[in-house]
C-alpha cells in the first residue's frame, strides 16, 4: 500500500510518499519539504496570505519531485492524503484542492487527514508501537497532551489556554532580537546561559488538570529583560536559559499530570511520545526522558525531520485510515479549526 501525503497547513509546503510493507512496517519513499522561513522572516512570524501564495506556487513541483524520488507515478498509488486542517485556511485549501483533484483524475481514494493526527500517529510509522500511548504535541501552533487510543480515537487530556509553546519561544526570540524562527535560536543562546539567574514563574505547576499556560511566563521574562535593558550577549543567554528552564519544568509537570489522567482515561500506556517542532529541543527531550524512565515507560521522539511539518506523517496517517476503510469524499471541507476529539470543549484559542 502506497500513499501520497500533502501538507500545507502552515509555512511548510510538503509532499511525500510512504509505503506500508507486508509486515506492517512503514517506509518513507520520498519526503520533500520546502520551508517558507525566508519569506516570513522579516515579519517575525508566519503571515497567512504570504504562506498561501507560496503554497500554490510550489506544491505541484514538490509532488512531481516526490513521485520521481519514489520512482512511482500517480497510477501506482493506493490513495491520496492531504492535511485538511487545522491550520491557516488559505494554505489548507490549496493542499486539499490539489489532493481532491489528483484523487478525482487518477481515480484514487481521498484521505482528508487531521494535521494533528499526522503527528499523533508518527511514532507508529517510526517505531511500530501499539495503542494506547500518551502524546505530547508541542509546536508553534499546538500544545496538547493526548491519549492516543486508536486511529480516530483520541482523548485530549490537556491543552494550552493561551500561547502555544513554540509561539512563546518565537515571541521571546523576537523580544531579544534573535532571528526567526526563534525556537532553535533561544535553545542555542541558552546553552551558555545561567538558568537560575532570573526567577521566572512556572505557570500551572501542580494543578490537577493537564492544561498549559505560557502568557504569564512570557510577560515575566519581558519585565525582567526590560528591567536590565540594554542587554548584553550574556544577559540574552541568561534570559534564554532561564526561560527554557521554566518551560521545561512546566512541560515535565504537565506531562506527569497527563500520565495520571491517561491511566484514568485509557489504562496503561505503551510509551510517552513527544512530537511537533518543539520536540527538537534537546533540553526538553532529556527532561522528558527522565520523566518517562521514572514512570517505567519508553520515551519516543521521532527523528528531527519528522518532528516538524512534513508530508510523510500525513501520508502515514492516510495509510492508517485507508486500511480501516476511512475514506473521504470530494465534498470534504478544509477546516481552520479541527480538534482531534471533536466532542470535547475547546479550552484554548490556540489549541
Amino acid at each position: 500500500m502506497r500513499v501520497l501525503g500533502l501538507e500545507t497547513t502552515c509555512d511548510e509546503t510538503a509532499a511525500a510518499v510512504v509505503r506500508l510493507s507486508e509486515d506492517g512496517h512503514g517506509e518513507i519513499l520520498a519526503n520533500e519539504v520546502l520551508s517558507q522561513i525566508a519569506e516570513h522572516a522579516a515579519y517575525g512570524g508566519v503571515v497567512p496570505e504570504i504562506a498561501a501564495r507560496a503554497h500554490v506556487e510550489a506544491l505541484d513541483h514538490l509532488i512531481d519531485r516526490a513521485l520521481a524520488q519514489a520512482r512511482l507515478t500517480l497510477d501506482d498509488l493506493d490513495g491520496i492524503a492531504a492535511a485538511a486542517g487545522p491550520g491557516l485556511i488559505g494554505g489548507v485549501i490549496v493542499g486539499l484542492t490539489t489532493a481532491k483533484t489528483l484523487a478525482l483524475v487518477a481515480r484514487k481514494p481521498l484521505l482528508a487527514v487531521n494535521h494533528l493526527e499526522g503527528h499523533a500517529l508518527t511514532a507508529r510509522l517510526t517505531d511500530a508501537i501499539g495503542f494506547p500511548y500518551l502524546l505530547l504535541l508541542v509546536s508553534g501552533g499546538h500544545t496538547q497532551l493526548i491519549a492516543v487510543k486508536g486511529v480516530g480515537d483520541y482523548v485530549r487530556l490537556g491543552t494550552t489556554i493561551d500561547d502555544a509553546i513554540g509561539e512563546a519561544f518565537d515571541k521571546v526570540a523576537k523580544l531579544l532580537g534573535l532571528p526567526y524562527p526563534g525556537g532553535p535560536e533561544v535553545e542555542r543562546a541558552a546553552e551558555g546561559g545561567d538558568p537560575d539567574r532570573f526567577a521566572l514563574p512556572r505557570p500551572m505547576l501542580g494543578r490537577p488538570d493537564a492544561n498549559f499556560s505560557l502568557a504569564g511566563l512570557k510577560t515575566a521574562l519581558r519585565l525582567e529583560a526590560e528591567r536590565i535593558a540594554p542587554l548584553t550577549d550574556a544577559d540574552v543567554a541568561d534570559l534564554c536559559a532561564s526561560f527554557q528552564a521554566a518551560v521545561v519544568d512546566v512541560v515535565v509537570d504537565r506531562t506527569r499530570v497527563g500520565l495520571r489522567l491517561f491511566r484514568e482515561a485509557a489504562g496503561h500506556p505503551t510509551a510517552v511520545v513527544v512530537a511537533g517542532g518543539v520536540a527538537a529541543n534537546q533540553t526538553m527531550r532529556r527532561a522528558l526522558q527522565r520523566l518517562a524512565a521514572e514512570a517505567g515507560l519508553r520515551l519516543l521522539a521521532p527523528p528531527l525531520p519528522l518532528c516538524g511539518d512534513n508530508g510523510a506523517i500525513i501520508a502515514w496517517a492516510g495509510i492508517e485510515r485507508l486500511r480501516l476503510g476511512l475514506v473521504d469524499d470530494m465534498t470534504v471541507p478544509a477546516r481552520a479549526r479541527w480538534p482531534l476529539d471533536a466532542g470535547r470543549d475547546e479550552a484554548g484559542e490556540k489549541a
Binding site: E49, V94, T97, A99, L104, K174, L175, P230, L231, T331
Partner: protein, 225 residues
C-alpha cells in the same frame, strides 16, 4: 485540441470543455456563487469531465483564470488546474479574468475603447482597457473608480464586468455603454483564449495586483548593548 477551462476567481464556479478552439463547449457547467468555490469545484469538474468521452484522459490542455479576483477563489482554480496538468501530463495555461471579460466585447464592438472593470471593494476596481484593434491602452491594474474614469478620457467606451456600473456612475458626460455587469467571465471565452495562449508565457500563476498586506515588525525588540 481539447481544452478544459476552469474559473473560480470571481462570482462563479465554472468549467467547460471545448474541442478545436473556437467551437461551442461539448460540456459546460457554471454556478453563480460568492463563496464555497473550494467545496463546489471538484464535484463540478467530475460532472463536466464525465460528459465527454474519455474524460480527463482525453484532454490536451487546461486553462484557468488567474485573477485578478478573490485570492482564495483563484487559488482553488489554479491548484485544481495544476493538479490536472500534473496527473495528465498536459500543459496548463493562465488566462486573466480581465482578458476573458474583454474577449466578449472584442467579438461584439469595433468602434469604441473596450474596458473591463472588476469590483475590488473600497471604491476600487481591477481595470484594463484595450483599443478595438486589441492593443492594450491600460494594462491590468488596481485603481480608484474615479481614476479609472479619468483613464477613459472622452470615450466612447464599452464597459464590462462587476465594476462596470460603478465606473459608469462616476463618469459624467462620457459616452459609455455598459455592456454587461455579470459577476464572472463567460467560461467559454476562458477556454477560447486558453486554446490560443502560449504555455511558455501564459503561466498558471496568480495575478494578485496587490501585496499581501503585512508589515515587518520589530518595534517589540529590546535594545542591545
Amino acid at each position: 485540441m481539447r481544452i478544459l477551462a476552469i474559473d473560480t476567481a470571481l462570482g462563479a464556479c465554472a468549467a467547460c470543455i471545448i474541442d478545436n478552439g473556437l467551437g461551442e463547449p461539448i460540456a459546460h457547467e457554471s454556478l453563480i456563487m460568492d463563496r464555497g468555490h473550494a467545496e463546489a469545484l471538484v464535484p463540478l469538474l467530475d460532472r463536466v469531465a464525465a460528459r465527454v468521452e474519455g474524460g480527463f484522459t482525453s484532454l490536451d490542455r487546461v486553462a484557468v483564470t488567474v485573477g485578478p479576483g478573490s485570492y482564495t477563489g483563484m487559488r482553488v482554480g489554479i491548484a485544481a488546474a495544476r493538479a490536472i496538468g500534473l496527473a495528465c501530463r498536459i500543459p496548463v495555461v493562465g488566462v486573466t479574468t480581465l482578458s476573458a471579460l474583454l474577449a466578449a466585447l472584442v467579438a461584439d464592438d469595433n468602434r469604441r475603447l473596450l474596458a473591463a472593470a472588476i469590483d475590488a471593494r473600497h471604491g476600487q476596481v481591477y481595470f484594463q482597457v484595450i483599443a478595438p484593434s486589441g492593443q492594450t491602452v491600460v494594462a491590468p491594474t488596481l485603481l480608484k473608480v474615479r481614476d479609472a474614469v479619468r483613464l477613459l478620457g472622452a470615450g466612447p467606451a464599452a464597459l464590462i464586468g462587476s465594476g462596470a456600473a460603478a465606473v459608469a456612475a462616476e463618469a459624467a458626460g462620457i459616452d459609455l455603454a455598459v455592456h454587461d455587469t455579470r459577476p464572472a467571465p463567460d467560461i467559454v471565452w476562458v477556454a477560447r483564449l486558453g486554446s490560443v495562449a502560449d504555455p511558455a508565457h501564459a503561466l498558471p500563476k496568480p495575478l494578485y495586483l496587490r501585496g499581501p498586506d503585512a508589515r515587518p515588525q520589530d518595534q517589540a525588540r529590546l535594545p542591545r548593548r
